[in-house]
């Protein structure tokens, strides 16, 4: 079974075009056609709403990026113990971790999001203790539920990757560390974790791109990200295509930037034979 491959092939650094051998005669024709299409879209479609919404759009992009980075980092921190206990933990921890990964990966993110938002959101006000706690102002907002759902989802998918990565670190390296007299914790910190993270890095790019593509779901629970701003534009201007085309363009740029950033970091990590 394919437990290692948790997702479809995400957009990865290898998919970016290379500068050499890019310009060929047919490509130049295609590029001219494409520029013509873009010009036609720019001229013949309505874009007069754009300046009015630009500040809100910028805000929305920032919210989307904040969602992406906070949930990816939190999710990755959760994924490390999840992967580790599935490899070495006692059955008492191994079972729940495996169950968590299976359940989260087996149900749609939208359902989890709505379960947290509508379910917990309707449950919390019934308890006076929660209503009076300092957390209440935050729990009344929508974004903590979005962050929670996206974090859990990322942790489950990446936890599965980390399980494979921890299991894939060669036994000899761990035995060598033990032979040097390292304690378990030192061995984990110095050898096992860095090697596992290194092994998991290539999939991390794909997972992060997929996480970016999941962020618009939080708009369905009233978080104002870039997708929600565009929905607002569509409601107010009665335009269908123009805002959606712009939205697709925004996400393509974000994905491209993300992939470029990851490629830069991956190239900085020295590998054998490079």
């Amino acid at each position: 079974m394919s437990n290692e491959t948790t997702h479809a092939l995400a957009f990865s650094p290898q998919d970016l075009p290379k500068t050499e051998s890019f310009f060929k005669p047919h490509r130049i024709v295609l590029i001219v056609l494409f520029v013509g299409l873009v010009l036609a879209i720019a001229i013949f479609m309505r874009w007069d709403w754009l300046p009015r919404y630009l500040p809100r759009l910028g805000n929305g992009i920032l919210v989307s990026l904040a969602m992406l980075f906070s949930t990816s980092i939190l999710g990755f921190l959760l994924a490390i113990p999840l992967g580790l206990v599935q490899v070495t933990g006692p059955w008492l921890l191994k079972g729940p971790a495996r169950l968590f990964c299976t359940v989260i990966r087996g149900t749609p993110l939208l359902l989890q999001l709505w379960l947290l938002y509508y379910g917990l959101g309707s449950l919390f006000p019934q308890f006076p203790a929660i209503r009076q706690s300092f957390l209440w102002p935050y729990l009344r907002e929508a974004w903590p539920y979005g962050v929670a759902a996206l974090t859990i989802s990322f942790a489950a998918y990446e936890g599965e990757v980390m399980r494979g990565a921890f299991a894939g670190v060669p036994q000899g390296e761990l035995e060598a560390a033990r032979a040097y007299g390292m304690r378990r914790w030192t061995m984990f910190r110095r050898i096992w974790l860095p090697r596992a993270v290194h092994r998991a890095l290539p999939t991390l790019t794909g997972e992060t791109v997929l996480q970016l593509k999941s962020t618009p779901l939080v708009a369905t629970i009233t978080v104002i990200d870039v997708y929600a701003v565009i929905s607002k534009v569509r409601q107010e201007t009665f335009l269908t295509y123009e805002p959606l085309i712009l939205l697709a363009l925004v996400y393509m740029c974000l994905t491209g930037l993300l992939v470029l950033a990851f490629r830069y970091f991956e190239n900085r990590i020295p590998t054998r034979g490079a």
Binding site: S2, L9, H26, L115, Y118
Partner: protein, 239 residues
């Protein structure tokens, strides 16, 4: 309250919502199956176009897979849902036929199929390249026509390499159907939300829907395991 959970809400007949949930679940499965099949067709033609097509076709396919893989499914679903129905109606108008009302089911299958097509193009392209070139050359040397090479050699030989990716895609297809709730198609997630909103039993209904999705995933996993064992039967067991 005598019991914390009011199970009668899940009853199959009218006051309970169980029947509606199962109906939505059926719609979800239908869309997933249809979309997956359409995606496979697109994927096979896309993979062959990318591997053996001319330079222009290759570049266009590259654009297709890149755009679909870089834009969120939710945005694609909105774009394709509106654009797809709009374009079809305009086309029918040009041909002098009246506008048709496209059912949500067909639109959903189309949308999921186009999205899946891009991913399966990539999966199948990788799998076809993993087939040893000698096998295809041998088939050509025997005088088989390209269609016969495809049917007898390439497709069966690439299957073991493609299955892990394809089974992943199936699981993704079942979960992507939930996104159609956003465009108002009555599949499982939307029905669940309506039921939960009407009865205020949020946890019960969302957990029930989650159990249905999970059951679908687990059953799919079991079936996939059987198919994989069958497809890999000639292979040396690695391990």
């Amino acid at each position: 309250m005598d019991s914390f959970v009011n199970w009668s809400l899940l009853a199959l007949s009218a006051p309970g919502w169980g029947g509606a949930l199962l109906q939505g679940f059926l719609h979800s499965i239908e869309i997933a199956l249809g979309g997956y099949a359409l995606g496979l067709l697109l994927g096979i033609s896309g993979a062959f176009g990318k591997l053996y097509g001319g330079p222009v076709l290759r570049d266009l396919l590259e654009c297709y897979t890149t755009i679909v893989r870089a834009v969120p499914e939710l945005v694609l679903i909105l774009l394709l849902y509106y654009a797809g129905t709009d374009l079809l109606n305009q086309l029918l108008g040009l041909l002098g036929l009246g506008a048709v009302d496209i059912s949500g089911l067909m639109a959903g299958i189309f949308v999921i199929g186009v999205v899946q097509g891009a991913y399966s193009t990539e999966v199948l392209r990788g799998a076809i390249r993993a087939v040893p070139a000698g096998q295809i050359e041998a088939a050509r040397a025997y005088g088989m026509s390209p269609a016969k090479v495809l049917r007898r050699i390439t497709l069966p030989a690439m299957l073991p390499y493609a299955l892990p990716g394809l089974s992943n895609l199936w699981l993704i297809a079942t979960k992507d159907t939930a996104l159609l709730a956003v465009v108002g198609f009555a599949e499982l997630t939307l029905v669940t939300r309506q039921a939960a909103g009407a009865t205020k039993a949020y946890f019960l209904f969302f957990c029930a829907a989650g159990a249905l999705y999970l059951a679908l995933t687990l059953v799919s996993n079991a079936v996939i395991g059987v198919i994989e064992r069958h497809a890999r039967r000639g292979f040396v067991e690695q391990r």
